[in-house]
Symmetry: C2
Subunit: 141 residues, 2 copies
């Protein structure tokens, strides 16, 4: 997980495992609490804030706003003020955002396909743990 | 982003956008604050807790422990107590964990490759925002 874009220049070594690498904060923005769902929602096309909020079930206005700001700052999302009456704001994935969205979609496809296996693992884990480790109730949390 | 494994059975519709879908909590475990890095570290092979902690630069003992517990509960990671002297614990990706690790690796490769573009976007964004929006200093945070 490291790539050097130029020899003998340590500043250009990119490694997500390194705490100070910018790819670490990019990973946090892209995955994070709501990043993945926001990017995937925008992969379906340009959307207004309200539509995104409805699509990403459970996100608060504040969290969605912060998530979009981080993605805009990273260059994954373009924000455009449309001067209609009343004016509104539209969000669109940039080409960079689209490339990342493809990989996120591939990840989520495997996760969705894994749900039966994961549910079986969780049930088995709670059975083995017995009363010593109470179920943490994270399903659907 | 939805898959139905059986017709006419709403309980089996898997959709990561739905708040109550188990794939949502799985996504949180796999990405989350440290999930991605823990899975990728284990993609290199079986490892002890201490080795994982050194590899995932910046993680605390408590957070790594919680992360591994969640991944074990989801069936991505197997935990084995090796009865050596002194005994120690080893962590290994399951086949399910390996499948997910492949997709995470593909995602992180694009993220690492995107760093120059993202840094340029961040610099431009701060330039445009000027004094109105202070830089949030998230690089390396």
């Amino acid at each position: 997980m490291s790539a050097t874009t130029e020899d003998d220049d340590q500043a250009l070594v990119v490694d997500v495992f390194a705490r100070a690498c910018p790819s670490r904060s990019l990973l946090a923005d892209v995955t994070g609490r709501w990043g993945t769902l926001a990017v995937l929602a925008l992969a379906d096309g340009t959307a207004r804030f309200g539509a995104l909020r409805r699509r990403v079930d459970g996100v608060s206005e504040k969290m969605l706003s912060q998530t979009l700001q981080a993605l805009e700052r990273d260059g994954l999302v373009a924000r455009e003020v449309v001067t209609s009456i009343p004016p509104h704001v539209e969000y669109t994935l940039t080409p960079l955002g689209q490339r990342i969205a493809e990989r996120l979609r591939a990840l989520v496809e495997v996760l969705e396909d894994s749900v039966p296996e994961v549910l079986a693992a969780r049930a088995g884990h709670e059975g083995r743990a017995g009363a010593a480790v109470p179920a943490r109730g994270r399903v659907g949390a």
